[in-house]
Symmetry: C2
Subunit: 150 residues, 2 copies
Amino acid sequence: MGDSQLKLSNQICFPIYSVSRLITKAYKPFLDKMGITYPQYLVLMVLWENDGIIVNQITEKLLLNTNTLSPMLKRMEKMELIERNRSEKDERSVIIKLTAKGKELKKQAADIPNELGKVLVSENVEVSDIMHLKGVLNEWIEILSENKES
Amino acid sequence: MGDSQLKLSNQICFPIYSVSRLITKAYKPFLDKMGITYPQYLVLMVLWENDGIIVNQITEKLLLNTNTLSPMLKRMEKMELIERNRSEKDERSVIIKLTAKGKELKKQAADIPNELGKVLVSENVEVSDIMHLKGVLNEWIEILSENKES
DNA sequence: TATATTTGCATCGTACACGATTTAATAGTA
DNA sequence: TACTATTAAATCGTGTACGATGCAAATATA
């Protein structure tokens, strides 16, 4: 009722916003070595699983729009991590394919999950909390992204 | 060991990044009515609790730097939500004070936590999950933001 | 088949984030 | 006191986010 609900720590928005940024920072040293940013890392993870998909399929997996992805993919093309080519079957679609360099980065990235785990554990983050959080957040993604297809 | 760890859903980075953006979107309809953005809302919450603090104190509470806050505060000054004045005690500091308009918004914001709660519940988000998540995330903020004072 | 609608992507404008640098004011110290 | 170090903001450059709009290709429908 009163003011207490309007306090930073009492709303879910601030903690999740801050932790998201703090986690991004925890990834940064590893991504810097690879010369990529955090969102670019997410794109690469999608492509490592599914090379040769079209832009729209990436937007679905990352819940990002083309207004974010198109410029980003152009930068990644300039960095020679990917290639962008129009589909011949459907001239509207753009197929994204990893270059040799883009594929190569997967090897460097292989250790990131473990390394990051070490960092978190050394900072006294509970592994059980990470696992639980992952579960809850993945459910929320399902729920919150469901009705947004309009 | 294998590839599975490099999958989107198996890392903590993607879920937290996505949920953060999805939660921001959930707030948007309410903030649009007030004509403010999500980060501006955070600044206002800080000021509603502690009016007349200096920029540096805001950076500490929100874990943001002046390179983000300075331009943002200028925009908020232009919107007549706040006033920016140099401290007389220490000419380096800039004191941020809410205007009448900025204070007025607190009344409009008072319902947001409840309204957002309703939205989440209607989307079948478990209240117990929200509470638990808030607890875990606030701990993580403590931990992850600790050694970053350098 | 001509036209309307939808789809996939790109572009534009605005607002963050953030590393790095700059500037001015204060504090510390020889 | 003169000089150095620290501190508080601001600025710069780059890279996202995202609502809105534009455009061409494909599809649907009269």
